[in-house]
């Protein structure tokens, strides 16, 4: 928990370093909002939300298995799916709050000189919403993986930093098999710059379709996780 809190504030530390560096250097300052946009994609969308969703999503089931505490929950007059959904909702809320705090602090630090420009707050709101949608969707997927596999973390890491980061650079419609594609479709096209290749996408989906797909993926994997958790037999290892 403490480790993930520290990881979630990592971008805040980076933002602070950038700001301090700007303050003491004579170089022409890059616009804070430009750095913030890149930070949202590079640090949050492609790294932090994946890490947070992976560890919290898979632990919905695995932490009860490893701690051998599942018995206390499954011998109560409550559906197993309700237990899983309750834990999913709690963990997702927690990581959304952690991420929102980090994003907001980074935004304020990077835009310290421009805080009265209220149009920038729309960007902050949009980014927090997109990242929250990402957390909701990824956590659902990893919750499903956690219920089905024992070595879910290894699979999750391969999925997060293999599949999700590679497939979106494939031409054609292959990129639509990545959750990141729909999240990036909700963000504006990148300006040319040092990090523009990280935003590269051939065919962004329309925003409404992207939101629909994100919710569809979330519902499908949560549903599968509920069914599996209800029927699968969990046997503790001695």
């Amino acid at each position: 928990m403490k480790l993930f809190f520290l990881i979630s504030i990592l971008p805040v530390v980076v933002a602070l370093i950038i700001k301090i560096n700007q303050f003491f250097s004579d170089r022409t300052a890059i616009q804070g909002i430009y750095i913030f946009n890149n930070m949202t994609v590079v640090m949050y969308l492609q790294f932090l939300i994946l890490i947070l969703a992976l560890f919290y999503g898979t632990s919905v089931c695995s932490e009860e298995m490893e701690g051998k505490t599942l018995t206390y929950l499954t011998t109560r007059p409550i559906a197993k799916s309700a237990i899983l959904l309750g834990k999913y909702a709690a963990y997702t809320s927690l990581i959304i709050i952690l991420t929102a705090i980090g994003v907001t602090l980074s935004f304020f630090i990077l835009n310290l000189n421009d805080l009265l420009n209220f149009s920038l707050y729309k960007i902050l709101l949009r980014d927090v919403v997109v990242l929250s949608l990402g957390l909701i969707c990824y956590t659902s997927f990893f919750t499903f993986i956690g219920t089905i596999m024992k070595k879910s973390i290894i699979f999750g890491l391969v999925f997060s930093f293999g599949w999700e980061n590679v497939i979106q650079y494939f031409p054609g419609s292959t990129q639509r098999f990545a959750i990141a594609h729909y999240l990036k479709s909700l963000l504006p096209a990148p300006k040319t710059g040092r990090f523009s290749f990280l935003m590269f996408r051939l065919e962004p989906s329309p925003p409404l379709l992207a939101v629909f797909m994100i919710f569809l993926i979330t519902v499908v994997f949560l549903g599968l996780a509920c069914v599996l958790f209800s029927w699968k037999e969990y046997i503790f290892e001695d």
Partner: protein
């Protein structure tokens, strides 16, 4: 009396390992002891009747209803698992009230029930301490408290006396015995016969996944009494003592152990044998340092009963 728990041809195996084989039982209200050596299938049986695992063959009914994925039945069931596992960062109070929350009680009722359960297990004074600071005995009592906090009709206790000191055992045994009133059904497992004996007379003997015997504890005791026992005696003059023992009919075999001054005697009548030792010791001026029974455990009894 109508059975509360019914199993029909219940069988379970884990891959190639047999957990339980063709168990058909009817359990009525009162305390029923499940007795068997480690790995006999006690925990598998209790997990099956609480719906935590699926049987490969057979069915299990609680109050006439199938248990597996029938979560409303857990309003009537309290389960105390074998494993010493908790949400260690919580306090005892948070642990009990948190689990009671899953029974949909109002906050006031939740607090009331948690308080009562903690009073029963004598943990009220320690309720605000985190569980990781609890002793083994306190943790066992807390497990018992979570199983009875919702006042269930059926209480299933898997090895509740494991790892407890004698005082802790006495406390838990007293709790279990006091809980059987008002038509409740209590099932308690153990691999130690005197522990079960202290709680109930109704027992089920389980061995290698099969029900070996079932009924009154006296029946089991009789089986055990006829079981030849090996008794080890450490004394000042084992050869002199041995020469006296071999004249007795109930002494089947006498051996000298590799341990210093130790005699191993096999007898088919423990009571007579033990009553003879003091008189022989006084008569021959032999100082007896230690008497132990190396095979006085359930596994030895089972081995004898199954003819190993």
């Amino acid at each position: 009396m109508k059975p509360v728990i019914e199993t029909q041809h219940l069988s379970k195996w884990y891959g190639n390992v047999l957990g339980l084989s063709d168990v058909t039982l009817e359990i009525e209200p009162g305390i029923t002891g499940i007795l068997g050596p480690n790995g006999a299938g006690k925990s598998t049986f209790l997990k099956l009747i609480t719906g935590q695992i699926k049987p490969n063959i057979g069915t299990c009914f609680i109050k006439g209803k199938k248990i597996r994925n029938n979560y409303p039945l857990f309003s009537f069931i309290g389960f105390c698992p074998e494993q010493d596992a908790f949400f260690d960062e919580l306090t005892g109070w948070q642990f009990i009230t948190g689990l009671l929350r899953l029974h949909h009680y109002s906050p006031a009722e939740r607090d009331d029930r948690a308080q009562k359960a903690l009073e029963i297990v004598e943990l009220v004074e320690d309720k605000d301490r985190v569980i990781k600071s609890y002793s083994r005995g306190m943790r066992q009592r807390l497990k018992f408290a979570q199983a009875i906090a919702h006042d269930p009709e059926i209480v299933v206790l898997d090895e509740p006396l494991n790892g407890l000191d004698p005082l802790g055992r006495r406390k838990i045994i007293r709790l279990i015995k006091s809980y059987k009133g008002e038509g409740r059904t209590v099932m308690v497992s153990s691999h130690v016969l005197p522990e079960i004996e202290a709680m109930t007379k109704k027992i089920i003997l389980i061995h290698q996944g099969k029900i070996f015997a079932q009924g009154d504890i006296h029946y089991i005791r009789d089986l055990i009494e006829t079981h030849p026992h090996i008794i080890s005696i450490k004394c000042s003059d084992p050869r002199l003592l041995a020469s006296n023992f071999i004249q007795e009919e109930f002494v089947l075999n006498v051996k000298f152990s590799s341990a210093e001054n130790t005699l191993l005697v096999e007898t088919n009548n423990r009571d007579k044998f033990f009553s003879l030792i003091p008189s022989l010791s006084v008569k021959n001026n032999i100082e007896v340092e230690e008497i132990t029974s190396p095979d006085d455990n359930l596994q030895a009894v089972f081995d004898y009963l199954v003819g190993k």
